[in-house]
Symmetry: C2
């Protein structure tokens, strides 16, 4: 109670579609609302080149633009946004204390919507070459590889999206997938198979990323034959999944095996007054529209919890 501005009705952790939608709803409902994001507001969606499946945009929209629209809409009401990293959530006499790198904040209810981070390959050279040919975001980095050969690691929607985007810049795109078929949506697969610049290497994993100053080659292994090979590329885009940043919640909230937060259909966690929304939630389908829906639902039930 020393500093009045550190108390809020609702604190939202994370500024992607889930957090921004939660903030839109809580601020529009005249609840004092703080949104804490550790980086750039807008979330993972901002890295999507083209979003065709967010309802309301039949001609598609860039993820960056969608993120900006959402932020503008949420901040039209009195949503306060700060940049900080959350280090802990503690329960304090019925209220919640959110500890961050920029100080501690108290709220009646907390909505955790901080998403999932890109999964790393964990091979030699990956860390050293990040930003020097190793990338996790084609939308951000593709233009750097104009006229050069690149690889994409993964077989899901995100990986194929990245590969398709890269064909606009690179001379050739080799998709490396550890299985013998893609997980990606059939319509995406079809497009990728029809794209002459894309080549597929099935049952193939990366063992090492090599190069002097920048990436020059990948050491590959065929998982069935164990045959080794070298692929000469100037860049490698890794798109093999997401890891939620929930280490600080261990012992506080029930998490699933991959570290995602378990909720019910009201976005309630096991602790009254703590909600989760979006990609960080177990069972989330990791789509912007579902995350936004989660955010609205979490805001609704957080308001009900507060009894406002």
């Amino acid at each position: 109670m020393q500093t009045m501005n550190k108390k809020y009705d609702i604190i939202i952790i994370g500024g992607g579609p889930a957090g921004l939608t939660a903030g839109l709803y809580t601020a529009r409902a005249k609840q004092s609302s703080l949104l804490i994001d550790k980086g750039m507001v807008g979330g993972m969606i901002t890295k999507a080149d083209q979003v065709d499946n967010y309802p309301g945009f039949p001609d598609g929209i860039s993820g960056f633009e969608l993120g900006e629209l959402m932020q503008r809409q949420a901040t039209k009401y009195s949503l306060k946004i700060i940049t900080a990293e959350v280090t802990a959530i503690e329960l304090e006499q019925g209220q919640k204390m959110v500890k961050t790198t920029e100080g501690n904040f108290i709220a009646k209810a907390v909505i955790i919507a901080s998403g999932s981070e890109r999964q790393k390959l964990g091979v030699p050279g990956e860390k050293e070459s990040t930003g020097k040919g190793v990338s996790y975001c084609a939308t951000c980095d593709a233009p750097f590889f104009s006229g050069q050969a690149v690889a994409v690691v993964g077989g899901g929607d995100a990986a194929i999206d990245e590969a398709m985007h890269l064909t606009k810049f690179a001379s050739k795109v080799t998709v490396l997938h550890r299985r013998n078929r893609l997980r990606a949506t059939p319509v995406l697969q079809e497009r990728a198979f029809a794209e002459p610049k894309i080549e597929f290497r099935w049952n193939t994993v990366v063992e090492a990323i090599e190069g002097k100053d920048f990436v020059e080659r990948l050491r590959l292994r065929q998982v069935i034959t164990s045959g080794k090979s070298i692929l000469e590329v100037a860049g490698v885009f890794i798109s093999i999944g997401l890891k939620p940043d929930t280490d600080y919640l261990k012992g506080v909230l029930p998490l699933d095996a991959t570290g995602h937060i378990i909720t019910n259909e009201k976005m309630e966690t096991e602790i009254a007054g703590i909600f989760a929304a979006g990609d960080i939630r177990a069972g989330s389908i990791r789509q912007a529209i579902a995350a936004a829906g989660d955010g609205a639902t979490a805001a609704f039930y957080a308001k009900e919890f507060i009894g406002d």
Copy 2:
């Protein structure tokens, strides 16, 4: 199996934001998809004059336009839409038979997203005067009451939205609410209290709607004093809640006390392969964004159920 075109991977019942989003996802995933709606596609949202809380539209959008955008987006892929009323869902050798007024259809999975209908007051004169001064949709009917006095029955967001909209046309808007305070969002309440054309009558219910050819007056009762009074109006807009059309599901699916379908956070009902999404779901917050999110989630898990 007689008529091949009557079998689908997925049948979606209802064409509002939940159903159209489910259809967008299933059709985009190249699953054969049939959407059945009993009236105009777009759902309840199409009746909203201005939607300010659907993320992605910071300057707001009319519900009608939003519905049209969603429909255009879903039908870009091969979603088939028909007009029919669903009368029963039956389980048949692991598949689902959807019986309708336009014939029977079979699917591997069904997503029920047929929303909720407007609740009726159930007082004398209501039915007789519907369309002759009794309305459930100010967006549709407000222009007919230009320069005249009207009443709105209800105290939630929808009722106050309707009242605000009516002030653009009517000479005076009396809000009749059976309680002594509104349920509506504070920001909406504030606007309504500041609006000189709106008057509130608390703890007041309508006992009868009277008039010769058109509505002329309401018979009111103050619930605390039991005092009776007459309010002269040319129109009455009833906005007291929603009733889901789930009578045909009694005994098939678990419903809550108000007839809404019970699901988990994956939109699964108790019957494998039958999903529910949007306003028809118990616990739904009855907002377009949440309904759309539900639709995407239901489509995802329906696809997983089919094993496609």
